[in-house]
């Protein structure tokens, strides 16, 4: 298999995730786009582990999976709190901190 297969797939997923973070207004879909980005990084880590004949990439990928789970938990708790206070999770309406 070509080495660029995994890397190009991960690059495309990363770009789609960046587009989602910019384009989406709903906070939950922005979190989904962040999941796309983190998964593309994981694919890269596993591919590099395969290329270099080592398992360090697997260890790092598992670290990223754990951090992503924690991030989604805290992120959705924040979304819930914002929804409870404002009855909306549209990100462009959260402008209280604007100077």
């Amino acid at each position: 298999m070509y080495a660029y297969n995994f890397l190009i797939l991960a690059a495309a997923m990363f770009a789609i995730g960046v587009f989602g973070v910019i384009a989406r207004r709903n906070a939950v879909t922005v979190l989904m786009s962040i999941e796309l980005i983190l998964n593309s990084v994981n694919i890269n880590l596993v591919a590099f582990a395969l290329m270099n004949d080592t398992y360090d990439g697997h260890v790092f990928a598992l670290f990223v999976i754990a951090i992503a789970a924690a991030e989604v938990g805290v992120g959705l708790a924040m979304v819930l709190m914002i929804y409870r206070n404002r009855r909306s999770i549209a990100l462009d309406e959260l402008s209280e901190l604007r100077g």
Binding site: M1, Y2, A3, Y4, N5, F6, L7, I8, L9, A11, A12, M13, F14, A15, I16, V18, F19, G20, I22, A23, R24, R25, N26, V28, T29, L31, M32, S33, E35, L36, N39, N42, V46, A49, L50, T54, Y55, D56, H58, V59, A61, L62, F63, I65, A66, I67, A68, A69, A70, E71, V72, G73, V74, L76, A77, M78, L80, M81, A90, D92
Partner: protein, 185 residues
């Protein structure tokens, strides 16, 4: 005998390529990319979450293709098992209506298209500049490292012990923080 079928930059059949692995890769990768596009363009939040399942399951299949079984099983358990349920709970708790919904995108969402294309272009250039048409050596040999779950656990409890303890602390803090944030006072 070398049969080369080239479609643009993607060469599927060549004498020195493991054809089955290459074809299997693209069979998994194309639905993943389509699912990723639907995640960021779907008009229905629940549908976006279900397309995300396709992407996460495809990623697990790619891990198996890359000989990372333990990561693949962890991906299925953590992402498809736990994170997706969390997402569906988040959607249900923050939305009144179920179905198509307008206003999921920002007013200036079109700015994301050139930014995404630029990111992909730079990354693709860097990838082809770095690896070109290198092949991943997938032939079995005596010098191949056999990545087993035992090796991963030895790494976790050996050189990566301090990061593992720090990670468990991060998970503890995240759990407590999520409870504190979501609790009704």
């Amino acid at each position: 005998m070398s049969a080369v079928v080239s479609t643009g930059s993607i060469t599927l059949l060549a004498a020195d390529v493991n054809v089955a692995q290459n074809v299997g890769f693209w069979v998994i990768a194309v639905p993943m990319l389509w699912g990723a596009l639907r995640v960021v363009t779907a008009r229905n939040v629940v549908h976006a979450a279900l397309w995300l399942v396709i992407v996460l399951g495809g990623a697990a299949a790619q891990y198996i293709l890359a000989a990372a079984e333990f990561v693949a099983v962890s991906q299925i358990m953590v992402y498809i098992g736990a994170v997706m349920v969390l997402f569906l709970f988040g959607i249900m708790l923050t939305r009144a209506q179920v179905g198509r919904e307008d206003g999921l995108n920002n007013a200036g969402w079109a700015i994301g298209i050139p930014v995404g294309l630029l990111v992909f272009g730079v990354l693709a250039f860097a990838v082809f500049d770095a690896v070109g048409t290198d092949l991943i050596d997938d032939r079995a040999g005596d010098d191949k490292v056999l990545v087993s779950t035992t090796a991963i656990s030895d790494a976790y409890l050996g050189p990566y012990l301090i990061p593992l303890i720090a990670l468990s602390f991060v998970l503890l803090v995240a759990a407590i923080g999520a409870i504190v944030l979501a609790r009704k006072d």
